[in-house]
Structures are given as C-alpha cells and as structure tokens.
Symmetry: C2
Amino acid sequence: MKKTLNVIKIGGNVIDSSEKLHQFLLDFTALPGDKILIHGGGKVATELGLSLGVEAKMVEGRRITDIETLRVVTMVYAGLINKNMVAQLQARGCNAIGLSGADGNVIKAVKRPVKDIDWGFVGDLDAASVSTETLGSLLNAGLVPVLCAITHDGDAQLLNTNADTIASAVAVAMSSLYETALIYCFEKRGVMRDVEDEDSLVAEIRMHEFDTLKNEGVVSGGMIPKLHNAFEAIKSGVAAVYIGKADELPQINGGNFGTRLIQ
Amino acid sequence: MKKTLNVIKIGGNVIDSSEKLHQFLLDFTALPGDKILIHGGGKVATELGLSLGVEAKMVEGRRITDIETLRVVTMVYAGLINKNMVAQLQARGCNAIGLSGADGNVIKAVKRPVKDIDWGFVGDLDAASVSTETLGSLLNAGLVPVLCAITHDGDAQLLNTNADTIASAVAVAMSSLYETALIYCFEKRGVMRDVEDEDSLVAEIRMHEFDTLKNEGVVSGGMIPKLHNAFEAIKSGVAAVYIGKADELPQINGGNFGTRLIQ
C-alpha cells in the first residue's frame, strides 16, 4: 500500500494576515504524515512593487510579469515570504525546506508562448514538469518541502507561476509514489448550496455529480474552473481534492474539511 | 577513506559582475566531486535599500541590521541572488539547491548579544550550528547546496550572517564526514609577497610559518584575521584552506589555486 501525502496550497487570504498564517502553520505542523506546502504571493509583492515604482501592467484583469515584476516576485515569494514561513515552521518543530522550482530542479516550467498577449515571464507547467525523484528524496529525508510560486525553464530563466497549478501538478506527479490528497485553502468553507448560509456546505461531490450541480447553479462563477481542474487532477491519479477554509484544516483528520471531491 | 568535499565562498566582487558570475558558475559546475557554495550579498542589497528609503545605519564602518534591513537582505540574498544563481547552475547541469539557514534547519545561529553596540538581527554561529545530517543527506541525494547568508535562531527569527563565518563553520562541521577543503574567493590572487607584483603569490603557508609572515609584513591588515580564521578552521579539522581569485578556480585541480593553507 502506498503511503499518504497531503499537498496543501494557501494563498493571499492566509499569507496576508500574520494571525491567520500563525494559526495555519501550527495546524499544518500538527498534520500527521508526509506533506508539501505550496504558497502563492499576497499583497506584499504589490506593495513592494509600488514602493519601487514598478507599475502593475494588467490585461483582462491579470498581471503581466515583465522583468521588473519578476524581480519583485522573486524577492518576495522566494525570499521574504518563503524564508519567514520556513523559519516559523522550524520554530514549531516542522523540518521545512523552502524551494523554488529551480531548487533541485523540482519544477521545470515553460515560458508561456506569446499569442495575442505577451504575459511576460510566466511559466506554464504540468505533472511532467515535477521532479518526483527530488521531492521524494527530500520527503524520505524527513523534510517538508515548502514551494513558492517561482519556477524556472531549465535555461537559467526564473518564471512567475500560478500556485494553484503548481499544487495540482505536484499532487498529480506525486500520485505515482503516494496516495495523494490535494487540499486548496481559500476564503470560503467550500462549495455552498446557499452562499448566504454558512451551514449549507456540500460535504462531498463525486465526479458524475459535477454537471448536475453546475446545472442547478450550486457551482457557478469562479468555482467552475476550480472544480474542473480538481476533477482533472483526480482523473490523473490524485485520490481526493479538498476545497475549504484554512482555519478548518485540523478537521481534515475526521474527514470534515470543506468540500471533498472524489472519483 | 573519507570522500572529499569542497566548500566554496564567493562575495560581492563575483556576484556584482554578471560576467564574472557567469564564468564562476561554469567553473564551479565543472569542479568534480561533492561541493557546497556559500554566497554573500553584493551591491544589489544596498541599491534596493536605497530605492526603498531604508537608510544604512553604520557603526565602526559596519552595517546595523535593523528590521527593515533584514527584510531587504532576506529578499535579495535568499530570493533574488540565490534563486538566480541556482537557475543558472541548473542550466549548466549542476543540480543546485538554494538554502537559507532556516531551510532544513541547516544553520541555527544565535542573535548577537547586545553589549556596547546593538547590531540588530545579526547571527553568530560556529560549527555546532550546522546540521551535518541534513547537508549530508542532500549531498547524498546528488544535490549541491547553495547557501545564502541568511540564517535563523530556531525561534522563527531570521538573521543576517557573515558569509565567511558560515563557510568556515560549514567546512569545520562537514569535516566529520568528509575530507574538506575550504575555498575563499576574493579580489586578489592570494597572499602576495609584494602587492605590486602579480607574480609574487605565496603558494603555500603552513601554520607554523604564519607568525613569521606576520612579522615580515607579508601578511598584514585585513589578511591577518582572514588567515587567523583559516588556521582556526584547520585546527578544527578542515584539511586545507585556499584563498584566491574566483577566475583561477579551475587551477585548483592541479593544486595551483591561490594560497594554500595547511597544518
């Protein structure tokens, strides 16, 4: 039987609050078994960019990563956020090791091809981009990889990369070695039947129910691509995907964390 | 017989020149056997500090690391410089892994006690601060650790740390597992009999010759503490210390790199 592995992703809503981050890192440390943490950015990068006069260039509501922006996100994600997070985990007894995709070549992405829009130094990747060998040997050495959203192209170029995509690719790739759960922490408790009602959480969605829930409007807007990607990960070998609120993470041991997506 | 390990330290004079850095990383990659790279900062941190209005506070010509300066050096050393260096090494086929002292708890330092001067968030360390177990398992996994000059105190505090001291502590600690050489790259070819004469390199100094060379004035100024620390490292188990110019690194295989210090 394969060992279990939890791949957990947190974003700005946890990172931007030192209180929430503190609590999350305690809960993450307490989680038994092998685990990998993936973190995105947060408002610190935007603030640093502003202080340095690096103007945010947006297209269709999304940021273009020019060379100046890449410098900023490399400093903030791989430096400031990653190292402070690792130091906090170490203080709690979690033997964390902070990594970009360049470190140990754990994630080799491809610079997004220029079509209508030049997104700049942005990396695209899939499960084949992930070095399961290096991540596996770090886990075997008792280390807990903490991945930031910076990758490289194998040709000395760092790339800004979507943390959700990294989490999914890592979970799919590691499924060859582990029984893997992918856990997305975001601002809501999970998929809600009624957004106004905190108690209307949908505890579990099976793949064949996804279309029905879309038709009923229970799953709508930004939740549709999130769940679509989650079920793609499940099709590619991930045992289960959880979507829920960071502060409810401890409940995952009882199987009561957020919405659980399975085959 | 123990395997050999080269612990190499570079500073601003290499890091600040993209041309020199490029060449150095090629030469470093070509170096056979197990190796660890340690890098200091460079003028990028000073420039970023200026851009952000972080005023350099100096005492006795040395910088105080206040909380704002710590943020800047964490971003630049652990983020910008370390990750770009790792990406460049990966592109050359060297399986580098960039680390701060917090990562895998490889270096746990102590915040310098406040006596006459409060140096701020500066770390002091010795060989006992180094996790030979984690560094050893990374080397055994075929990885090449690239350490920046940021450490932690084990209680969630990052610390700015002297890269020469890290290099020496790592070399001494790893001497329990490896036949270790410690290699300092700096701006000169090594110890020179005549600073005006490029050909007056002193190829080798044995410990008992140190006092004589000091009395003769061949070793003077900033070279005295450098050599003193080097011989301390040798007393503590390091097989040899080399002091030389980064661009002559390839000559180390023929034993002709800089000044070699031995027992």
